[in-house]
Symmetry: C2
Subunit: 464 residues, 2 copies
């Protein structure tokens, strides 16, 4: 059985599917093997050596993550709700609404993630659920979250997800009504080409969707005002006018892929079709028809190339002032800081995005800046657009920058890893930092501290 | 097999323990049955009817939650790390530190929870991990979180948890060094008696602990400065001087329990001893000897009483000004708001705390306030200190307040439920709101909106 991961079996057990002793182990299941084969084809299409150490187990890791992340296909929301309905007295109707009759119940700020059906990338969701009990019964609060999770753990579109959660709770609890609001955040992964032209790339696309059943069916009903007011206490400002149904596909990848890339490799497209089938999806479903080629085109951004960076003629130049912005004096020399250079990369262990900012510090003589900011940004992008690990990215940036200088360079990379939320551990707020220190920075703790102090505090980036 | 919950089996499977087809189902396991029996004794000791609908499955729910929440006893951190060590080139030592050799790697803001070994209540943890790779190998980032989780999921004390995580990572990864910082937050549940005397009760006790191995062993080493600087970017300010080892037990329940309560019921104490044993713990371990009686004393705060609130002679009085603070005019009358009355309660479905604030609005004539704030606070505490569900609490407060007035009352309860973090769904940021509307509030949406608008926005309360 071995390395069975985060609750895939569990999900089945919890929903009353009998555990069959003769069933195949996770790693021998046909769908696991099919996804592993497909991922191997994708890695080869990227020009990677599938036997190198960091990639050896990537197909299995991807299979686990995907099957875990879409386990909602095997779950029945009905069973979850039915086990947790409790009788609870309400008020007399003539007196008012509360308890098991008419007093609205709201659970706010449920962190979920789902997979975009247009591009297969995970997206983050803040889910807010409200329902109005009736029939003198209430549902256990955690079940609202569990039901939402069943529909999040599928290939989804925000509006359909809201409708499915809402409909399922309405039929399961049989309340006076149910309302769902989802705040969704889809990573807007740029391609290298567009990034070099537009440094102000917006990294996220947001969608706000809602769905209502029963007393919430009418969008102008007073009960919506109560629901929205209760969200407001938590800083969630939802304007009624924002709540029109989304008509267009929200996925930024569908529109942003460069036309220059050309048609995707048919073998890779077939591999993604087989992944969709292994998850239990119908690859011919209207919304999924374009997904395989969208995913492959996007993945090709991270193609392994033998290209070296062209190092001549870039960005050197005099600075205008004796002491430029971002300079710190240190023993009569200057430490120059370039902060918050954005990066985008792809984790080679999970084939999932990681992204964030890079801070670079180096010593420079007065009045002369050997390398400009845009050149540093190019270096960062160059090493980002590959299958990577953060530790290697940090070292490669540092070594390349050092090759222009005497070698006194410090690099800090701060990153959010999609694999930290969309796999088993689901650590939504976590963030990773890595450091490379070269030359004087490795021997002079005061220089290190000075540079580190020049980095401004941030709170969690990229969250909702 | 039925209702097997959130990953207890999984944990075993993931760690290579063979799944035995002849093994008993979760609900038939001796430890499950023992905990169920013990919880039944506790409920009876509280004077509850163990057959009433809301409590029927409480023993099983508690058994699931506890066995799940302490599954770390069955996990081996070593296995987790060994499956995810990757070769990664580093810099030449003469040049600096980065990559697989000496460049510090940090994962920040991992949300965990653990159980306090002194009182059995869950506590929240923000965990920050740093390590310095050596031997040209790095560990998969998510494994740092998984290993931390293994030691969090036991009965713990903050310092021991930090030491155990640190030691385990150090021996598993064999890096140059490992550092752990834990920010822990323990609910400080007051007893009813002390609350009525001290309305400014502080609801939390914080602990900051650290542990270091290898290059982090010396607390004055420069590498600690780098680690703390990298935490600062995320707004985590740890002062070196704060980092002395904790000498005293941090658990606020141990010290705050009223001496007046008298010795706990021996049958209930024996029941808790049997729970400890079922979790795989030794009830004679020094730190656990006082735990059963501490837990029972605390639980008795929620004893079922037949007491009615004494309703005469409380809190009525004239207000000094024509229009007091918190008044909103509405059709020539006033809606009076009493906001942020604190409450503490115990979820009857999981025997776990829930807590938060109550907002009460009512109509009043000019110049006369029929009920004072402290009386409202007493009503809230009275209905809080019971085995409860939030919907019922809301209704009971509303009905009691309405009995003093003509009946035009609105109550909003905002709560954090420990069961939302310490059971399977682990929704750290979520928050629940319930409403009761009586009399005019149920028919007049404008009055409802006016009252709701008087409630100020907050962000998540009670978090780290």
């Amino acid at each position: 059985m071995g390395a069975l991961d985060e609750g895939h079996f569990n999900a089945e057990l919890e929903n009353g599917v009998k555990f069959d002793c003769l069933e195949l182990g996770f790693e021998e299941k046909p769908e696991t093997l099919a996804i592993e084969n497909a991922v191997t084809v994708l890695l080869q299409g990227l020009g990677e050596d599938i036997n190198r150490e960091g990639l050896k187990k990537t197909p299995l890791r991807v299979a686990k993550a995907l099957l875990h992340g879409t386990r909602g296909y095997n779950q029945k929301a009905k069973d979850i709700v039915h086990s947790a309905l409790f009788p609870e007295a309400g008020l007399d109707n003539a007196v008012g609404h509360a308890g098991g009759a008419g007093g609205i119940v709201i659970v706010r700020d449920l962190d979920l993630f789902s997979y975009c059906e247009s591009c297969l990338l995970p997206f983050q969701v803040k889910c807010h659920v409200g329902y109005v009990p009736s029939g003198q019964r209430v549902v256990g609060l955690s079940k609202l979250s569990r039901v939402a999770d069943v529909f999040a753990r599928r290939l989804q579109d925000p509006q359909r997800m809201a409708d499915e959660i809402c409909s399922s709770l309405h039929h399961g609890i049989k309340p006076a009504g149910v309302a769902i609001i989802l705040q969704c955040l889809h990573i807007h992964f740029p391609n290298l080409e567009s990034l070099l032209l537009d440094s102000n790339h917006q990294g996220w696309v947001k969608a706000l969707v809602q769905s209502g059943y029963g007393v919430f069916e009418n969008k102008n009903a007073d009960i919506w005002c109560d629901f929205l007011s209760l969200l407001k206490f938590r800083g969630i400002n939802v304007d009624k006018t924002q709540m029109d149904s989304m008509e267009q596909c929200w996925c930024p990848l569908q529109s942003s892929l460069s036309a220059k890339i050309g048609p995707p490799n048919p073998g890779m497209v077939t591999a993604v079709v087989s992944i969709l089938r292994s998850l239990g999806e119908d690859p011919l479903r209207k919304e999924l028809v374009g997904t395989p080629s969208c995913f492959v085109k996007w993945l090709m951004n991270f193609q392994n190339t033998k290209l070296e960076m062209k190092l001549n003629g870039f960005g050197c130049g005099k600075t205008d002032t004796l002491k430029a912005n971002g300079d710190i004096s240190h023993n009569k020399e200057h430490i120059h800081s370039e902060l918050n250079l954005s990066f985008w990369s792809q984790c080679e262990h999970h084939l999932l995005p990681f992204y964030g900012v890079v801070h670079i510090g180096y010593f420079r003589a007065e009045g002369f800046n050997p390398i400009g900011k845009s050149f540093l940004q190019s270096i960062v992008h160059f090493y980002g657009f590959k299958l990577q690990v953060q530790e290697r990215l940090t070292r490669q940036i540092a070594e390349t920058v050092a090759s222009f200088l005497v070698g006194d360079v410090m690099v800090v990379v701060e990153a959010n890893h999609t694999c930290m939320i969309s796999r088993g551990i689901e650590k939504f707020g976590s963030n990773t930092a890595t450091i490379a220190v070269l030359g004087r920075f490795s021997t002079d703790p005061v220089a290190r501290t000075k540079f580190l102090q020049s980095i401004p505090s941030t709170t969690a980036s990229g969250g909702l």
